[in-house]
C-alpha cells in the first residue's frame, strides 16, 4: 500500500502544479484544436469525408499530443532538479515513476475530453462510448511507455528529438488495434469477421498490463542515477 500511497501523492503533486501553473493543459488543448483545424484544411473535409477520415485524424492528433504531454513531465523536473530530490527520499523509483505516469495519463485524458467533443463538432465524427473506451484503454499503456522513454530522453541531449524516435515504434500495437477498433466503432457496424465483439478491448487491456509491468520494472534502471 505504500507504493500506492507514493504513486497517488506524486500524481497529485503533478496535477496540483499543473492546476496552479496552468502551463501544459492550455497549450495542449490549443494544440489539439489547431490540429483539427489544420486537418480540416489539409484534407478539405466536408460532411461525408469528415466522419470517414476521423479515425485516422484522431490517432494522429492523439499520438502527437501524447508526445508533447509526456515529454514535459520529466523535462520540467530535470530543469529545476526536483527529480533528484524526490529520488533521495525513501519512496523508491518505481513508485515515483508510476505517480508521474499516472499524472501524465490524467493530463492526456483531460486533453482527450477536449479532443473528442471538438471532433464531433468540427468533423461530425460519431463519438460513441465504444470510441471513448478504446481511446481510454490505449491512453493508459501509451502513457506508461511514453513516460518511461520521456524519463530516459530527459537524461540525454536533444531530448525532444529522442522521445518520438523511441516511443513511436513501441506505440504501434496501440495504434494498430486502437485505430481499427475506432474505425469499426465509428462506422457503426459490429466487428464482423475482424474480431468477436469486445476482443479489441481485451487485447488493449493485455497490452496495458504488459507495458505497465515492463515499464515499472525498467523504471528503476532509468531513474536510478
Amino acid at each position: 500500500m505504500r507504493f500506492a500511497g507514493v504513486m497517488l501523492a506524486v500524481a497529485a503533486k503533478d496535477l496540483r502544479c499543473e492546476l496552479r501553473g496552468k502551463e501544459l493543459l492550455p497549450a495542449l488543448t490549443q494544440f489539439v484544436v489547431l490540429s483539427l483545424v489544420i486537418a480540416g484544411f489539409a484534407f478539405d473535409l466536408d460532411a461525408s469525408s469528415g466522419p470517414r477520415l476521423s479515425p485516422g485524424i484522431l490517432w494522429l492528433v492523439l499520438v502527437f499530443a501524447g508526445l508533447l504531454a509526456f515529454g514535459r513531465t520529466f523535462a520540467a523536473e530535470r530543469d529545476v532538479g526536483s527529480l533528484e530530490a524526490m529520488l533521495l527520499t525513501p519512496a523508491g523509483a518505481p513508485a515515483i515513476f508510476a505517480g508521474k505516469a499516472l499524472g501524465a495519463t490524467v493530463l492526456l485524458v483531460a486533453c482527450e475530453a477536449v479532443l473528442l467533443p471538438a471532433m464531433a463538432v468540427f468533423l461530425a465524427s460519431p463519438i460513441s462510448p465504444a470510441v471513448v473506451a478504446t481511446v481510454l484503454l490505449a491512453t493508459v499503456g501509451m502513457a506508461w511507455l511514453g513516460c518511461l522513454f520521456a524519463a530516459l530522453a530527459a537524461q540525454t541531449r536533444a531530448r525532444e528529438l529522442l522521445l518520438p524516435v523511441l516511443a513511436l515504434p513501441l506505440w504501434i500495437p496501440f495504434v494498430v488495434v486502437g485505430s481499427r477498433a475506432v474505425q469499426v466503432a465509428m462506422s457503426g457496424g459490429g466487428f464482423g469477421a475482424w474480431a468477436p465483439a469486445g476482443q479489441p478491448y481485451a487485447v488493449l487491456l493485455d497490452f496495458d498490463i504488459l507495458f505497465l509491468v515492463v515499464s515499472s520494472l525498467a523504471a528503476r534502471f532509468v531513474l536510478d542515477d
Partner: protein, 250 residues
C-alpha cells in the same frame, strides 16, 4: 598498465591475426554459399530465378534476430551485473543486426516486386511493418548511446531500450498480423517437413551457416573495436587524473 612491446608474443597482435583469419574463412564460406545458391540449388518452377533471393533473405533475417537476442542478453547482463562485456556485446550486435535487417528488407523488397507486383502504397504487410519498427527501435538504441552522457549512463539507458525493444517486437508483429498478411508462412518449419526439395534445403543450410559465421565474425570485430576504444578512453581519463593529482600539477 605496462605497454606490451609488439612482437610474436604480443596478445593484441595474436588476437588481430585470429580475427583476420576468421574473416577470411567467413568470406570463403560466403563464396561457397554463393555457389550453393546460384549453381547447386535447382531453379524454382513457379517463381524462376527470383526465388534464389530466398536463401540470403531468410538467412540474414535469422542472423539479425540472433544479433538482437544477443543485444537482449547483453543488456540484461549489464542491468543485472553491470557487466561491461555485456554492454560491449550489445553495442556490437546492434550495429551488425541493423546491417542484416537492412539486407533482409532490401532482399524482400526486390523479391516482392515481381512476385506480389508490390506497391508500398497498397500493401501494408505485417512483416514489413514489424521489420521497419524493428529497424527503428535498434536505430534508437544506438541513438540513445550517442545522445546520452557517455559512460555508465549511456550504457544503462541503452540497455533499457535493448530489453524493451526486444519485448515489443513480437507484440508489434502479432498486432500488425491482425491486418491481412501477404508474407509467405514458414517454409522450412512447415508441419510435415520442409515444403521444398532436398537440394534447396541443403543450399539454404549452407547459406545460413555462412551468414551465421559472417555475422559472428562481424560482431567479434566490432566487439574488439569497442573494447579498444573503451581501453583508450580509460587510459586518457587515467592520464588526466594523474596529471590533476600530481603535487606540482599543471
Amino acid at each position: 598498465m605496462a605497454e606490451v612491446p609488439p612482437g610474436p608474443t604480443d596478445p593484441e597482435g595474436a588476437e588481430n591475426r585470429r580475427l583476420t583469419a576468421l574473416a577470411g574463412v567467413a568470406v570463403a564460406a560466403m563464396l561457397v554459399a554463393g555457389w550453393a545458391i546460384f549453381v547447386y540449388a535447382p531453379q524454382d518452377a513457379l517463381q524462376g530465378p527470383v526465388q534464389r533471393i530466398f536463401y540470403l533473405h531468410v538467412a540474414s533475417a535469422v542472423a539479425a534476430f540472433g544479433c538482437f537476442a544477443v543485444v537482449l542478453l547483453g543488456s540484461l547482463a549489464f542491468l543485472w551485473r553491470g557487466s561491461l562485456v555485456g554492454d560491449r556485446l550489445g553495442r556490437a550486435a546492434a550495429h551488425v543486426g541493423l546491417v542484416f535487417t537492412t539486407v533482409t528488407f532490401l532482399m524482400g523488397v526486390v523479391w516482392a516486386k515481381p512476385i506480389w507486383n508490390w506497391d508500398p502504397t497498397r500493401t501494408w504487410d505485417a512483416r514489413l511493418t514489424s521489420t521497419a519498427a524493428l529497424w527503428v527501435i535498434y536505430a534508437g538504441y544506438l541513438l540513445v548511446r550517442r545522445l546520452a552522457p557517455p559512460g555508465r549512463t549511456a550504457m544503462r539507458l541503452a540497455a533499457v531500450v535493448g530489453v524493451i525493444g526486444f519485448v515489443d517486437v513480437p507484440v508489434v508483429y502479432f498486432s500488425v498480423e491482425w491486418w491481412r498478411t501477404l508474407h509467405p508462412g514458414p517454409v522450412l518449419t512447415a508441419p510435415g517437413g520442409p515444403a521444398m526439395p532436398a537440394p534447396m534445403v541443403v543450399a539454404y543450410l549452407v547459406t545460413q551457416a555462412a551468414v551465421g559465421l559472417l555475422c559472428g565474425v562481424l560482431v567479434a570485430i566490432h566487439y574488439r573495436v569497442q573494447a579498444r576504444r573503451d581501453a583508450a578512453l580509460a587510459r586518457a581519463v587515467a592520464a588526466q587524473l594523474e596529471l590533476a593529482s600530481a603535487p606540482e600539477g599543471r
